[in-house]
């Protein structure tokens, strides 16, 4: 399973991290979950810089991105990913408490792949994570011609 790409979870709230991990765990996904606690850290991981300069893990299969983050917020991280030539094919799922329409609109404008409002009920949350995780981490292969894919093959 070494070729399984990790899931990058970007989330500042430790409680949400724990709950999300619990949900992912229940999905019994084999992917490693890497947690970044703010937008800057997420970008460091994606660009393999800072404390991730020598990371062993590869580019994520999917980024689960909280919208409201310290330092660099979720929309900005999204924008940087989708602007970057190598990263732009990485699927990004926006996870948010916000029910604000403008966040949704903005996210889609920036090219988000899915937008999920975290439900208050845990069961629904679990279902959402499960669906997302399964879909993006297992089924959704990156396009064959993508730079990311060829780099990984190398």
């Amino acid at each position: 399973m070494a070729d399984l790409k990790p899931i990058l979870l970007v989330e500042d709230s430790p409680k949400d991290v724990e709950l999300t991990l619990a949900a992912l765990e229940r999905c019994q996904l084999a992917n490693t979950v890497i947690v970044a606690r703010d937008g800057a850290e997420a970008l460091d991981y994606l660009h393999a810089r800072g404390k991730f300069t020598d990371r062993k893990t590869s580019e994520p299969a999917v980024v689960l991105l909280d919208l409201k983050l310290p330092k660099v917020d979720g929309l900005e991280v999204l924008e940087q990913i989708k602007k970057h030539e190598l990263l732009r094919h990485t699927p990004v799922v926006m996870l948010t408490s916000s029910r604000e329409e403008r966040d949704l609109v903005r996210s889609y404008q920036l090219g988000v792949n899915a937008f999920v409002v975290k439900p208050v009920g845990f069961e629904q949350f679990f279902e959402a994570i499960q669906d997302l995780g399964m879909f993006w981490a297992v089924l959704n292969e990156p396009p064959p011609h993508s730079a990311l894919g060829s780099e990984q093959a190398a």
Partner: protein, 756 residues
């Protein structure tokens, strides 16, 4: 095209006169003089006689010998000495009286006034024969003039002033009748004062048409204030040669005292039974406003100095009348300003300034002395006093707006002639004064005056202008000056200058207020925008931060239950379930609150809506969730509306879901949807036979999170009807409820009709 005038002299080419050229006849170059003296046209510098007309063969050589001679050779030395300075004396514009000169004749003396002026580069020297026993100078008449000036102090009205002038002029001249004649804005003239002997009939109050004194005559009267015809039977003396030998031009006699008049005018005078006439122009600020017109039954010459005294009286009269006009205008202005200031105060006191005008209709009407008024703003008209019906006012407003003129103030005392089809409004709106108070909307303040039928007495029938003779059309003077009465209809009393000014000032004030209000509104809306932004930021952070803890409570409780559930007692399990349930319910409350706030902020996208389709869709969706219950749906025909489709769907969704919920215990449940037309609106309602509510709490029904039932009876957060109200009100409608405990409920909402 004119009848020879009462007072003026159109040209004398009557045999070939045609109606079109008449107005242009050059009455200032008649080529003749009256026979009471001589007229010499002199070349400046040489004082050589170029042209001459001589009615005084007794003292001067005959014409042929005059022309070509120099002045010194034809005048006796004593006379020449008196007129030698003619060149210097005529350097200034106007007519100079050089003095009285005497010629020896038949063993006695004949006296002449030597009068000179310049015209067409020539010096015109006239010798006017004196009248026996005439005053030797203006000073001799001074006592008369002083009496007149003294009497002036005692009179206050324009009428008294005119009476006094007529009386004085007749006293000085000894003529049979003196009239003061005043022009109106159309140059018709009315006799406003008269003094007369029994020899001539009264013309007082008669009106004469403008064509009686055509434009070129009025211009002549403006230049030369005094005219005299001594004998309607005189034989004119021709000027010879007719044309100036150097310039080929006829002599311009505009300023001449001996100028001959048209034979047609003489015929006119004879028809009037007057053989002598004199008129004095009354000028105000250089413009002709009237005449003092004198007549005598028998031929009579008014001496030069007497005429000068009359001219002086005429000028005093003009000045006094101008002063009186100014004073009365100032007085009226002051009165209007006082009312205008009061209206401003009224406007300042009202939330909507125009209410200040509407609530104080008396002042609004008094401002312009009108019988009725309409305040038209933003598509609604408020009528005050005696006005046309509101549909007619709308028509007038449309007409005013259609004119697309830049005039901010419009006034007419004869609406029927300017606005087609407005004759029927004459009883309320023969007179109309309107001010435009907005550049954007068709907004006006309009004042109305009713028709005032007046009778005007004309001096003869002014419509009878031309008479046909066997040799073709020929103008004849009116033969009858019998009073001819005309009824003037479709006119109101005229708007006075001060009244129109007052309206214009009110307009300025209103426009200022409108601008100031607009600025205030702009400031207010700026503040609203910033408050809204704050509110948005607040709800945004609520949306993120308030939901998270609830989610965590639920999440951890669920984990506890799932992972450690077996370790819990049954009671402990129930506690965990309640924690989960409560946190979910708190989360739902937050979600509902947010959606309610979004409802207020979201942009409305109104489109024409088929309300039948909207309800049908909502019912189909709800019906699926109802399950096994029997619901008797009674759906009536709904009027179309204009609204935001998403929001309007939410309205029915909330109302119908409520009905389904509150009829839970009914079998069958009856839910009725219907629509009734109202006044300018359509009323939609949803009625059910459910549990109803206590009318005592109806005021709470539409409040946020207000519930009239215990949560264990009926679920819900109490946001539904609050959303309904917010949506309906944002569509310009209103919402209300009727019901009774166990008697069902009817929720109604009204939306403006006609917008779809």
């Amino acid at each position: 095209m004119t009848q020879p005038a009462l007072l003026s002299e159109p040209d004398n080419h009557s045999s070939s006169l045609d109606l079109l050229t008449c107005d242009r006849e050059p009455i200032h170059v008649p080529g003749n003089i009256q026979p009471y003296g001589a007229l010499l046209v002199l070349e400046p510098g040489t004082l050589r006689i170029l042209q001459a007309a001589n009615g005084t063969d007794a003292i001067l050589r005959s014409d042929g010998q005059l022309v070509g001679a120099v002045l010194a050779d034809v005048l006796p030395a004593s006379v020449f000495a008196a007129v030698e300075q003619v060149e210097a004396a005529t350097q200034t514009p106007g007519v100079s009286h050089l003095g009285t000169v005497r010629f020896a004749h038949d063993g006695g003396w004949r006296s002449y006034h030597a009068i000179a002026h310049r015209a067409g580069g020539r010096i015109i020297l006239e010798l006017e024969e004196t009248v026996a026993d005439e005053p030797g100078s203006f000073e001799d008449l001074y006592p008369h003039v002083r009496d007149f000036l003294d009497s002036l102090q005692a009179v206050s009205s324009v009428q008294e002033l005119a009476n006094l002038a007529a009386r004085e002029v007749r006293r000085i001249t000894g003529l049979d009748r003196a009239l003061v004649y005043r022009f109106d804005e159309d140059w018709n003239g009315t006799v406003i004062a008269e003094d007369r002997s029994e020899a001539l009939p009264s013309y007082l109050d008669l009106r004469f048409p403008a064509s009686d004194i055509p434009a070129q005559a009025r211009e002549l009267y403006r230049l030369n204030r005094l005219r005299l015809i001594a004998d309607a039977d005189y034989t004119p003396v021709p000027i010879e040669p007719t044309l100036d030998p150097a310039t080929n031009a006829p002599v311009d006699l505009s300023l001449s005292v001996l100028r001959s008049v048209s034979p047609v005018h003489l015929e006119y005078m004879r028809n009037m039974g007057t053989y002598a006439s004199m008129s004095i122009s009354l000028l105000r600020e250089g413009q002709l406003w009237g005449l003092i017109s004198c007549h005598n039954a028998a031929p009579r010459r008014v001496p030069y100095h007497v005429r000068t005294a009359c001219d002086f009286i005429g000028q005093i009269l003009s000045l006094q009348l101008a002063a009186k006009d100014h004073a009365s205008l100032a007085e009226q202005r002051h009165a209007r300003r006082t009312i205008g200031a009061r209206l401003l105060g009224h406007m300042a006191a009202e939330d909507h300034f125009l209410d200040g005008l509407i609530k104080h209709g008396d002042d609004l009407l008094a401002l312009t002395n009108a019988a009725g008024a309409a305040v038209v703003f933003g598509g609604t008209s408020s009528l005050i006093g005696d006005t046309p019906a509101s549909t007619d006012v709308d028509r007038i407003v449309a007409w005013l707006a259609d004119r697309r003129r830049d005039d901010d103030v419009f006034a007419t005392d004869n609406l029927a002639v300017v606005m087609p089809g407005s004759e029927l409004l004459k009883d309320h709106a023969s007179g109309l004064l309107a001010i435009a108070i907005s550049q954007v909307h068709d907004s006006y303040v309009i004042w109305f005056r009713p028709e005032v039928i007046r009778t005007v007495s004309w001096g003869g029938d002014p419509r009878k202008r031309a008479e046909l003779e066997p040799d073709g059309l020929r103008l004849h003077p009116r033969k009858s000056f019998e009073v001819w009465k005309e009824t003037v209809s479709l006119r109101s009393s005229p708007w006075l200058e001060a009244e129109v000014e007052a309206a214009a000032e009110l307009r300025t004030a209103i426009v200022d207020i409108v601008l100031r209000r607009a600025e205030e509104m702009a400031a207010l809306s700026e503040r609203l925008v910033s408050i809204n932004k704050e509110l948005e930021a607040f709800s945004y952070s609520v949306s993120h931060d308030l939901r998270a803890p609830f989610r965590h409570i639920v999440g951890y409780s669920q984990l506890l239950k799932n992972n450690e559930g077996t370790a819990l007692t049954e009671r402990g399990q129930r506690y965990v379930d309640t924690i989960i349930e409560s946190a979910i319910s708190a989360g739902t409350l937050v979600d509902n609150l947010l959606s309610y706030s979004q409802m207020g902020r979201a942009t409305l996208v109104p489109v024409p809506l088929d309300m039948d389709t909207v309800t049908a869709e909502v019912i189909r969706k709800l019906d699926m969730e109802v399950g096994a219950r029997t619901i008797d749906w009674r759906i009536g025909k709904l009027a179309p509306a204009r609204g935001d489709p998403v929001m309007m769907r939410l309205v029915f969704q909330n109302l119908l879901a409520n009905s389904i919920k509150f009829t839970r215990d009914r079998d069958p449940a009856v839910i009725e949807v219907g629509c009734e037309p109202g006044d300018g609106e359509n009323v939609y309602f949803v009625r059910d036979n459910g549990v109803g509510f206590d009318e005592a709490y109806v005021s709470k029904l539409f409040g946020v999170f207000q519930r009239l039932h215990r949560v264990e009876e009926f679920e819900g957060t109490g946001i539904g009807l609050a959303n309904v109200r917010r949506i309906v009100e944002r569509h310009g409608g209103r919402v209300w409820a009727e019901g009774q405990v166990d008697g069902g409920a009817t929720i109604s909402f009204a939306l403006p009709s006609g917008a779809e």
